[in-house]
């Protein structure tokens, strides 16, 4: 099967601007990526780098003051950017679903679990009430929740964090979506539960053959789950590649910095310093010429202030945006 037929999501040149009192915030600039069926793309970056905004843009759930621009934004051939509000609402919860970070605040406290699950099914005309109930029960069971009948009648606050997140996953699967976007699905959970949820997500993805975008700041999650990775910094994607490529030969200084921040069992020597990237994400308002990472980059030089984010290909399927030559990038160690 050719890649284009298998492709679920194609994004090219996506930009999001937000009107704030001080001017226009360029939250996302000229990002491009794609996701295939059965593939997990991880979007990694610090908070504020624009990864969540990107996800919201795909769902057309941006705040009122935000505007979206894209050369291409297609979901299974449908141009998402050109749809009316009514048309996109037909797709949301149906072909494209999102799982949010904090399951406690993401669920309506006054309605029962069953009701919140069934209403998606009914909204998208998938069947009648009893079919909705049957599907809800099936999915709750599938995500590992026992006593499904009792749970369906309960309210969100009666469930633990892990159970709530499982329920959110079940909710996203009610209409068999083509694409699932999981925004930091494990950040709000206990460490022990995190692994279970991640495993569950991968399992379900395989079973339902969905495309998945996983948004995270945690490289450990990426290593465990992702097929492909896109590293975001200051609203731009600075490096993309398969998970293996990125961990084995990271090119962009930011990527290298991220990787050096996590200890690798077996590799990191006891007593050696963990890397840290000093500084903060810059404010994305006003004049944004040049590479936005240069103030924190150990390799930066004068030329970086004129950098126009051209794409460099490192190998098949692995590319990045940096003005330094590959030799310098590969050679550079990371100073703490």
């Amino acid at each position: 099967m050719s890649p284009i037929q298998k492709s679920v999501l194609q994004v090219r040149g996506l930009s999001v601007d937000i009107e704030v009192s001080k001017g226009t915030l360029r939250a996302v600039q000229d990002t491009s990526f794609s996701v295939l069926r059965g593939e997990t793309l991880a979007i990694v970056g610090e908070s504020g780098c624009g990864k969540t905004i990107t996800a919201l843009a795909l769902m057309r759930l941006l705040p009122r003051r935000a505007s979206l621009k894209a050369e291409e934004l297609t979901l299974e051939g449908v141009n998402l950017a050109a749809l009316t509000e009514r048309e996109i609402s037909d797709l949301r919860g149906h072909r494209i679903c999102m799982i949010f970070q904090d399951p406690m605040t993401s669920l309506n406290p006054v309605y029962r679990i069953g009701d919140q699950l069934e209403e998606i099914f009914l909204r998208h005309g998938k069947g009648n009430r009893s079919e909705a109930r049957a599907r809800a029960e099936y999915l709750l069971d599938r995500v590992g929740i026992t006593n499904t009948r009792t749970r369906l009648a309960q309210y969100p606050h009666e469930l633990s964090g892990g159970l709530r997140q499982r329920m959110m996953i079940a909710m996203a699967l009610m209409c068999e979506p083509s694409l699932i976007i999981a925004d930091e699905p494990t950040t709000a959970l206990d460490v022990t539960v995190q692994a279970q949820i991640l495993a569950l997500l991968t399992e379900l993805q395989r079973e339902f053959n969905m495309a998945m975008i996983l948004i995270t700041h945690d490289l450990g999650v990426v290593a465990r789950v992702a097929d492909r990775v896109a590293v975001m910094y200051a609203g731009r994607i600075v490096e993309t590649g398969t998970s293996r490529q990125l961990f084995a030969s990271p090119m962009h200084p930011y990527t290298r910095g991220l990787i050096s921040c996590i200890p690798h069992p077996g590799r990191t020597k006891r007593g050696s310093q963990l890397g840290a990237i000093p500084g903060m994400v810059p404010a994305l308002i006003g004049n944004l010429e040049g590479c936005q990472f240069r103030n924190r980059c150990y390799l930066s030089e004068d030329g970086c202030s004129k950098f126009n984010y051209e794409l460099t290909v490192a190998e098949e399927g692995h590319c990045y945006r940096c003005s330094m030559s590959p030799e310098i990038l590969v050679r550079g160690g990371v100073k703490a």
């Binding site: 704030v20 001080k22 915030l25 939250a27 504020g48 905004i53 759930l61 941006l62 009122r64 994400v281």
Partner: protein
């Protein structure tokens, strides 16, 4: 349509607090309009004797029920006409402002003191003391304000002092509720616990930490209660159980003009509008103060 909002975690350079306040005040038309009008009324009330050649009690049975200058038979001698006893209406309304403002300020100050003390004590000390405070507030809330005010006025008379005191003693509950809730929040702040641990006296903490933070809430509530006091005084006077004739209270003017309402409507519309605009102005001022000091309250 209100679509989901996303709080941006990208920080932008923040201006200083006073600069923020100044900007908000300048841009806040409501606040400026409101306080401007209140100031105007205040000046009119203070300088009343100079603003009218007449005495508000001066009757003239020859010029009774003269229309305002824009009405039939109106003259510039009596811009707003005269009432059923020939008293110049502009003068009566002008002096009525004194009553309203006095009652408003006075009642707000008294109820503010009572309510704030009760509320702060309850919020600060918590426990059983707070239980007592909540009980007091609940009792006060259960009592029907207007009816009790009417009863008290019938017992103690409708002099200005009596009214101010009665209204002051009857409308402190909102002060208590707000100050108590704010004090509770402050109380739970770490710096209060730290101050106590260091051994600072409770009194000093209350005055040093609690009071400055509660102050702007108190002012906002005070403006609201002032407006309410003015309205209640008008009601009481209208019902004959407030300011007694011939002293010109706006509520009393409406009551006096009621008999002539159908063919001399200005007798009730003018004092009513006076009450209406003063109350709006005070409310705008209060809203403005709240927005300027803590805009989270705006929405």
């Amino acid at each position: 349509m209100t679509e989901p909002s996303k709080k941006s975690n990208i920080s932008v350079m923040a201006p200083s607090p006073t600069e923020i306040m100044r900007r908000r005040v300048r841009g806040h038309t409501g606040f400026l309009l409101g306080s401007g009008f209140v100031l105007l009324v205040l000046l009119l009330a203070v300088f009343a004797p100079y603003l009218s050649p007449y005495d508000p009690f001066e009757q003239n049975l020859n010029t009774r029920l003269v229309n305002p200058v824009w009405g039939e038979g109106g003259t510039w001698a009596h811009i707003l006409g005269t009432d059923s006893l020939g008293r110049d209406y502009w003068t009566r309304i002008l002096y009525g402002a004194r009553i309203s403002l006095t009652v408003g300020f006075g009642a707000a100050i008294i109820s503010g003191l009572i309510g704030s003390v009760i509320g702060i004590i309850g919020g600060y000390f918590g426990g059983r003391i707070d239980g007592v405070v909540m009980y007091l507030i609940n009792v006060k809330l259960a009592l029907p304000g207007i009816l009790i005010a009417l009863s008290l006025v019938s017992i103690f008379g409708g002099s200005l002092i009596a009214l101010v005191c009665i209204l002051g003693f009857l409308f402190w509950d909102r002060f208590a509720v707000v100050t108590r809730s704010v004090t509770l929040q402050i109380r739970n702040n770490d710096f209060v616990t730290a101050a106590e641990a260091v051994g600072a006296s409770k009194l000093r903490i209350i005055f040093g930490e609690v009071l400055p933070n509660v102050a702007n809430h108190i002012i906002v509530v005070a403006s609201l209660e002032m407006a309410i006091a003015i309205l209640v005084e008008a009601v009481l006077s209208f019902l004959g159980l407030g300011i007694q004739p011939p002293t010109p209270s706006w509520g009393l003017l409406v009551s006096e003009g009621r008999n002539f309402m159908f063919f001399k409507p200005f007798l009730i519309t003018l004092p009513g509008l006076a009450i209406f605009f003063l109350v709006i102005a005070i409310n705008l001022m209060g809203d403005g103060i709240r927005d300027v000091t803590s805009p989270e309250g705006r929405n």
